[in-house]
Structure formats: C-alpha cells, structure tokens
C-alpha cells in the first residue's frame, strides 16, 4: 500500500487517520488469514483423529497432554476430542466473522480514500 505523490489533494489529519486505520486493518487482515488457516488445519486434524478413534480396537489410547502421552480410556478420549472440536469450530467461526468485518471496514475506507485522492493513492496489495 503506498501513498503516491499527487500534487492536488492535501492530506488532512482526518485523511491521515483514515490511511492509518486502513494500514492497521490490512495488517490485521493478513494476521487473521494466517490464523484462519491454522484453525482450519486444527479442525481437520481433530476430524481425522476422531475418525481414527472410531476405527481402532484399542481400549486405551495415548492422548497427548502437554509433552507426554497419557494412557487414557477410549471414551474419555472421545469426549475430549469432541470438546476440542467444538472449541476449535467456535474459534474458527469467530475468526471468520472478524475477517469479514475487517474486509467490510477496509472497503468503506477504500471508497472514502479513493474518492478523495483518486489515482494518487494505491490501496491494493502488491
């Protein structure tokens, strides 16, 4: 994102604040993108884990807690994985919502800034 050298439009303090806000939102958007990717991966892993669990005959499953693998009865593991899956999907939902809100705010700001500066400002990704 750059501010080009347009010589007509003056940058007021309000414009500067809008530009700053856009910069912050852009950064937050990239962070959210990464976080959403990680959350989706976690979700997938938990799905795979619970599928594996259904297929296994073992009564005792080694469940990772911290750095060690504790021997946990299968039912408890199932319960735990269900809880983790719920928490993970809620987290993913929250992140997606925030991402949408950030995008919406960014398009609003784009309209305002392009309206004032036109070609002298570039708000796209390089």
């Amino acid at each position: 994102m750059q501010q080009g050298g347009g010589s007509e439009a003056e940058v007021t303090w309000e414009d500067q604040q809008n530009i700053n806000k856009f910069g912050r939102l852009n950064n937050r958007f990239h962070e959210l993108d990464d976080e959403v990717k990680i959350a989706k991966e976690t979700n997938e892993n938990l799905e795979d884990a619970s599928n594996e669990l259904i297929l296994t005959d073992e009564e005792v499953v080694r469940f990772q807690i911290g750095e060690v693998f504790a021997h946990v009865p299968k039912e408890e593991v199932e319960t735990r994985i269900e809880q983790m899956k719920e928490a993970s999907s809620k987290n993913l939902e929250k992140l997606e919502e925030e991402k949408d809100s950030v995008l919406a705010q960014m398009s609003e700001l784009k309209k305002i800034l392009y309206g004032k500066f036109g070609d002298s400002i570039n708000l796209e990704e390089d």
């Binding site: 303090w13 910069g23 950064n27 807690i65 060690v68």
Partner: protein, 169 residues
C-alpha cells in the same frame, strides 16, 4: 492558511511523528530546508524500523511462550483430576528424540515447576495452577500491550512516510 497539527504524542519512549499538513509551515517551524527535513524524516524511519524489529521479536517470543504455559496448565489439571480417582496415571514420555519410556505417576499432591535459571520448585497442585494461570495472564496482557505498541509504531511510520512524500512534492 493550513497549519500542521502537532500531535507529537510519545508512547513508551517512541517519539510520535509530527503530522505535516502544510509543508511550508512545517519547514519554517522546524527551521530546516527541504533536504535536511527529508534526511531527518529518513532517519526517523530507520529508528522506527529498528524498534519495530525489536517489538516483532518480543511478540514472537510471547506467542511461543503462551501455548507452553497452556500445556503446563493442562498437565496440572489432568494430575489434579487423576488424584480424585486414586488411579495411577500411566504416560509415555520422550526420553530422547524418538525414544519413549513409560512412567507411572501415583496420586500427586505436588508438582515441580521449572522457573528458569536452573531452578525448579515444588508446589501443591492448586498453587501450581495459580502460578501458571498468573503467568499466562501476564503473558497475554504483555502481548496485548505489545500489539498496541506495534500499531502505534506503524501509524507513526505511515505519518512519516506521508510527510516525506509531501516534502518531496
């Protein structure tokens, strides 16, 4: 005549960037000619970059520490839960890379926490949970402050870049 608004707020030792609305007024106010003003702004940008690197490194450290503390809290909670059932907790732990050994952990009244600097202290489960929770909260709070600092920093960088562009015009 448009004037430059002086919002040179400071934040934790980071000088705020002065917003330049009108280049001429800015130059007369600071008593600099265009070239010295440009080099001053360039210098400021370098300083901001340095501080940004430092903050990003701190942020990475905190972001690595927080999951670690969460894992410890998990383990202590599990031990506490097991204590109630009078069953030993059987766990496989890593002795060396790729080599695991089985451990049988009897009902635990206390845990030992590694405090760093080659110091390990024994705590009761409740105290351990309290301590770990406190560390976790502190880490989260520091991370938030750091993120806010980074945002402030990036704003100053943007303002300084704007001032540069304005002066170049």
């Amino acid at each position: 005549m448009a004037s430059s608004s002086l919002s040179t707020t400071e934040r934790r030792g980071i000088p705020g960037a002065q917003f330049v609305e009108d280049v001429e007024t800015y130059l007369t106010q600071s008593g600099l000619d265009v070239n010295s003003a440009l080099s001053f702004l360039q210098e400021r940008l370098q300083q901001y970059k340095l501080v940004e690197m430092k903050f990003l490194a701190q942020q990475r450290d905190l972001q690595a520490k927080i999951p670690d503390i969460e894992k410890c809290l998990d383990v202590v909670a599990t031990l506490q839960a097991k204590k109630g059932t009078a069953e030993a907790l059987v766990a496989d732990f890593e002795v060396s890379q790729g080599i695991y050994s089985r451990a049988c952990i009897e009902a635990a009244d206390s845990v030992c926490l590694w405090l760093g600097a080659n110091v390990m202290l024994e705590y009761s489960c409740e105290e351990a949970t309290a301590l770990l929770q406190k560390n976790f909260n502190n880490a989260k709070a520091s991370l938030e402050v750091l993120v806010a600092d980074l945002q402030f920093l990036r704003d100053q960088v943007t303002i300084t870049q704007e001032a540069q562009n304005a002066s170049k015009r």
